[in-house]
Symmetry: C2
Amino acid sequence: MEQAWLASLVKRFAKEPGLSVPIGDDAAVLEAGPGEDREWVVTTDMLMDGVDFRLAEIDAARAGRKALAVNLSDLAAMGARPVAAFISLALPRPAARDLADRLYSGLVPLAKQFGVSIAGGDTNVWDNPLAISITAIGTVRRGKAWRRSGGKLSDWILATGAFGGSILAKHLDFTPRVREAVYLAEHYDIHAAIDVSDGLSLDIARLAEASGVGGLIFPKMIPISRFAKELALQDPSKGSALDHALGDGEDFELILCTHEEEARRIIADKNLDVPITAIGGLSETPGLWQMTDKSRKTRVIPKGYEH
Amino acid sequence: MEQAWLASLVKRFAKEPGLSVPIGDDAAVLEAGPGEDREWVVTTDMLMDGVDFRLAEIDAARAGRKALAVNLSDLAAMGARPVAAFISLALPRPAARDLADRLYSGLVPLAKQFGVSIAGGDTNVWDNPLAISITAIGTVRRGKAWRRSGGKLSDWILATGAFGGSILAKHLDFTPRVREAVYLAEHYDIHAAIDVSDGLSLDIARLAEASGVGGLIFPKMIPISRFAKELALQDPSKGSALDHALGDGEDFELILCTHEEEARRIIADKNLDVPITAIGGLSETPGLWQMTDKSRKTRVIPKGYEH
């Protein structure tokens, strides 16, 4: 859907009662009651055949896994520990049952890997392509959800993993950064976070804008995946490996903002299996900027998938 | 989807951790933490064009309203107070935006009526018919969710409203029994509940079976809607008004079980706007039975919509 319509939706429901975090972030947070020291975080994503994957080309198990994984990535982007998932399906006839079994065979191992309970859903059959809608629910310590809007001037921008070329496989088989999020939420003070679904540059720009600051990235420091390099070699006309890293999207890595000292501690932390890299910082000038080789700041036009 | 497959799903996920009520009831209940005196209740339903409504025949606003209403009915069936809803859409091109606006124009007034916050969702576009997936979340006092399985021998079976002929309009325009559920949960001890989505006889049979007892209904006491009578007049070959009441489904009324004294107090309660009627009781003999005119018990074959 067009960005303008989505923005109007977010604006329309920005002040709904009972929510610590309303519509428009990676997930919503339900207000805790008196005496409750945790809050529930809720996110939902719908994936469709022909849009988010092609069942003609892949095993449906990978589609089922992806449908859960994107939701877990949204919970991770809030610093939440996942608890339960609800699986709704619109299954095409005539092989609806076989397809449902394949979808579950992909998503159940992922649920087990991260201790997510399958708690409900709605299984339907129709004469149209597959749609999967999953809602995932988790918890954060009260008031501690990572919002996009919490970034502060001079914060460092950190990123898990590497970027670009996700279309070659990672968009289906990525590991949502649940463990990293739970660990970081427990041990560090993270100001703001977002997961990279639509594009590294676009999602950094969104976080910076939500935080009321600008973003400055250091292209040389951005971890570029070997798949981005592969795509750049295959067809140089479609951009460099860095272009792929900045704009491809569906990396499902986390972007995290915190102050310099905390950022340095995180980078040096030996308990993290996934590399965390400093790739830039939050600065005063609105918009997204990059530091060139010649130490000059130039504007970056955020690129990525606009829904 | 076939009942056997759904039953295997419920069995497979019956023991997932972190849930007070697992998959298989009208909604799931997330376990409260230490010191928390309420629990979160979560339900999700997916509705599709051509299956649950026909956009060629109705204003999309009614489809949007129905998609939220069925979820609120599920929360009511757990005795829960609704808090928030998450709206995911797969919208057909080319008029996706207009359709989304119509859907919201139907569901937002219902959300406001019952104090439900629109807290998130996922808006997508594709070249296939509309699918709407809504997740609704509410609260109950800790340990007080109404389960299907809580019915006890000799409980009375109560019903809100009237039954049958829902296809003529009510299946789109019904009022979910949210107020009644919240009021009853606050003032009375309800043992078990279910909402009538698939058919009065089928849903009573399900409640009785989940409670490990049988159900006995008194056909003369069942409130029959004027729409059931209209259908019976239109085409007597499709059954009597009572047949429609017992088997049509999509009434979205509540079936409630409690002991006789409490049942009598509820029926006499003047604070309820919707009539509540005693229509039977829970008894020892498994299965669903009816009391005939001649005071004989005969077997009832539960009828309704099997997904």
